[in-house]
Amino acid sequence: MNIDGKEVEAEEGKTILEAAKSAGIDIPTLCYNEKLAPYGGCRFCTVEISKGGKTRLVVSCVYNVEDGLVVKTASPKVIKIRKMLLELMLASAPVLSELAKQYGIEKPRFQSEVTQCILCGQCVRYCAEVKKANALTFVGRGVNRRVAFVDEIVGKGVCMDCRQCYGLCPTGKIPRETDGAYFEGIRVSDVLSRRRAKKD
């Protein structure tokens, strides 16, 4: 296959992202973690692929390599998408402003509740898939989606010595905001009660 004009060989079953990486081509990611199952949530690694005259946009962390595939990792369309995604994330996670500047975003046009979390779910997934502790979970749907600690599991003390999610968090929210073992005020019960309060 061909990535950004470079002929690349990759094993069947590998993703475009993995193939690009081994060829020294950098595709930016936010929710990707090689230890975890592909998630396809941030869509930041979107690339343009063509085969047989057809062009599509796919996320490279999920799409598997194919013979004869032509991949553009930074076409104008791809850059446009990444810029918009970053600008959208910036509204709730201003901590991304350094990265945004690299994409030429100086003055964000959007506003949202600042959570400093982009819901990449690395903490949730790592805790479930690798640690198998399930101390973190998503709560809520759509714009109300949040990451929260499961009170009952955290209460058993599993988080005290682990803290492996600290290093995973791309916005640094977890190490910055956790007090002791888990987010202050970001337990499931707190998220739910806040939501209830908002509804009232």
Partner: protein, 641 residues
């Protein structure tokens, strides 16, 4: 009862049922679909039972409670067979008249009949324009069967298509017939069902699943619900035939818990079919095994998406999967899983019985057969309608729907639910088929059709649908979650009179990324309500942003109410009805609205007698200064209060 062990057994059973039924015996069918149920069909049914025994007709008249007839606007609907006399809006108090006049004296109760615009009454269901212009091949049997009775379904030829498929056709032949019919998925995408079946059939693996998608979640749509409630066996028969063609032995009906009657009737249907040997091991003695489980969905719009639905069946949170592999190849527990919508499955027995050639004779080049629509909104005859593909929107809205309410002007029709688009008046002659709707920026979707009149603000409509989607997005991927959030934000500020220059372009910019980068179809189609209204009603957006004017007078922040002092007759109606006491005045003293207190609820506008029409709605221009308090009413000569 003993299980049916062969097609001959089934035929014998049918004859036995028919022999016990006199086709000329009077049968009162009472629609008990959701619409009529809400309008009180239970009480009507009780009244019939009472009156019939009071008149000594017990045993001489059958009563059948059926599923939805479709004419929800005029419910409760009662149809009396064999004549097919249709009574609309029947109340328990009408029942004694119906029984004594129609059942005993064989006369019509004129006041309950349909009346056309000239005042002429129409007695027979089939002659009423609402029904006359429809082709109710899938939905029509709803009026003839009690959904809780498998015998009713068998009496009408039910399960004969299954017998034909199992005994006279190979699985390949069934598949070929469905492929030849070019049946396209009725759930939204319009993907050819036969091709999907073949993918699942050919996919490696011994265990394969077939699934009914009854997770209908579009605002204003209720066709799948009414079909599953009203004729569950037709859906089940289609599913078994599909399973046979695909080589599946296990199926699911994914139905939302909010549809309790659909869950109940489908459960009863499964039980009955098992008892009759039409489901389970060795169906009809053919050696083919197949059974079905009902999975009750927790009611998330996104769970109608195929991979989310399958994840939900696995017992996990119903979120779409990011994979690029089709669920037809890797679905429930990563096994090949074929998902079709309720209506698609219900169409299958018809195709097997009557053949693909018959089916392809109905419809357009690319879209065959009929489609059921929920015709709702500002149309006179709301309800469920089934029309051949290719019928013009105009015919559906005017001939069947009876035109716009209160003689108002048509403005737009929204098709395809939250993922669809709004089509303006110049497209009203568009033939309704999968490809034509997509071409103009909307979609067939599962068949929602919301008619809008001149009093509808298109920016407000876009806001409504995007708000719905912002709650219903699963929130997993950024372009959908955050993209929709920001679109709602911008639409909110436009409607609030805070729109900025460049907002339309910004909306389009977000739309493009949300469409191109979202993980699943919910996000990919979420921009449609915005894009189609921007495309066809851009001036309306501009009026909101540039002139702070809402042309339809809907957006509260851009509307004011004003009482014209020269027209006010001081009748005190608005004064009394105003919920916030914002209106001052007295008898003979012109009323005045205190703009600072007014919450713009519009009550004064609605209650002001039409002959005065003193209250006006103002948008985009300053409200005239209030007249000095205490002016006396100017009365027109010769008119007394």
């Amino acid at each position: 009862m003993a299980k049916l062990r062969s097609p001959a057994d089934l035929e014998k059973k049918r004859q036995q049922i028919l022999s016990q039924r006199d086709p000329n015996k009077t049968c009162v069918t009472i629609c008990s679909g959701t619409g009529c149920h809400v309008l009180g069909s239970d009480k009507v049914s009780e009244a019939f039972l009472g009156e019939i025994s009071k008149n000594g007709l017990k045993g001489k008249v059958d009563i059948r409670r059926t599923g939805c007839h479709g004419f929800c606007e005029r419910g409760p609907v009662v149809v009396i067979f064999p004549e097919g006399i249709c009574y609309l809006g029947v109340k328990p108090a009408d029942v004694p008249d119906v029984v004594s006049k129609t059942l005993v004296d064989k006369q019509l109760v004129e006041r309950l009949l349909y009346q056309d615009s000239t005042g002429k009454t129409i007695a027979h269901e089939g002659d009423i324009p609402f029904y006359k212009f429809q082709s109710r091949i899938v939905f029509g049997n709803n009026t003839r069967i009690d959904p809780k009775s498998i015998d009713d379904y068998i009496a009408l030829g039910g399960y004969s298509a299954l017998a034909k498929a199992l005994f006279k056709m190979s699985p390949e032949q069934v598949l070929d017939e469905v492929k030849k019919s070019n049946l396209r998925g009725r759930g939204g995408g319009g993907f050819p069902a036969g091709v999907k079946w073949e993918t699942t059939r050919d996919a490696p693996g011994d265990i394969k699943y077939v699934i009914v998608n009854a997770d209908e979640g579009d605002p204003g749509a209720f066709m799948d619900r009414s079909l599953l409630e009203g004729n569950p066996h037709s859906v089940l028969e289609g599913l078994i035939i599909g399973a046979y063609a695909i080589g599946s032995h296990e199926g699911f009906i994914y139905v939302r818990q909010e549809y309790p009657l659909a869950v109940e009737n489908a459960s009863i249907a499964l039980e009955q079919a098992r008892k009759y040997g039409l489901l389970g091991k060795n169906i009809l003695g053919s050696g083919f095994d197949f059974d079905v489980k009902i999975h009750r969905g927790a009611g998330a719009f996104v769970s109608g998406e195929s991979s989310a639905l399958m994840t939900a069946i696995e017992g996990k949170v119903g979120e779409p999967r990011p994979k690029y592999i089709r669920t037809a190849v890797s679905g429930v527990w990563e096994r090949p899983s074929n998902l079709n919508n309720v209506e698609t499955w219900a169409t299958v027995p018809l195709i097997i019985n009557r053949g693909a050639d018959w089916f392809t004779s109905i419809g357009t080049k690319g879209s065959k057969g009929t489609k059921i629509f929920s015709l709702v909104g500002k149309v006179n005859n709301t309800g469920l309608v089934e029309v051949p593909m290719g019928m013009a929107l105009r015919d559906i809205i005017y001939k069947i729907g009876g035109g716009i309410r209160q003689g108002k002007k048509f403005k737009a029709v929204q098709t395809g639910g939250p993922s669809g688009g709004c089509l303006p008046e110049n497209l009203i002659d568009l033939p309704v088929d999968f490809d034509e709707l997509t071409k103009v920026g909307s979609m067939m979707g599962s068949g929602g059709m919301i008619v809008m009149d001149e009093d509808t603000c298109m920016v407000d409509v876009a806001k409504y649908f995007l708000n719905f989607l912002s709650d219903e997005s699963c929130g997993k991927c950024v372009p959908c979650r955050a993209g929709i959030e920001q679109m709602v934000e911008i639409l909110n500020r436009i409607c609030a009179g805070q729109g900025r220059p460049g907002d339309i372009e910004l909306l389009e910019e977000i739309c493009e990324v949300t469409r191109d980068a979202s993980l699943c179809a919910l996000g990919q189609t979420a921009p449609n309500p915005v894009l189609s209204t921007v495309q066809y009603f851009r001036d309306e957006y501009k009026a909101h942003i540039e002139q702070k004017r809402c042309p339809a007078g809907v957006c509260k922040a851009l509307v004011s109410f004003y009482i014209q002092p020269d027209k006010c007759q001081a009748c005190q109606i608005c004064l009394k009805d105003c919920p916030v006491q914002a209106i001052s005045g007295a008898k003979n003293i012109v009323h005045i609205i205190d703009q600072a207190k007014c919450t713009k609820c519009g009550t004064c506008f609605e209650v002001c007698p039409q002959r005065f029409s003193a209250v006006v709605k103002i948008s985009g221009e300053p409200v005239p200064a209030a007249p000095p308090a205490g002016i006396e009413v100017i009365r027109k000569k010769g008119k007394q209060e």
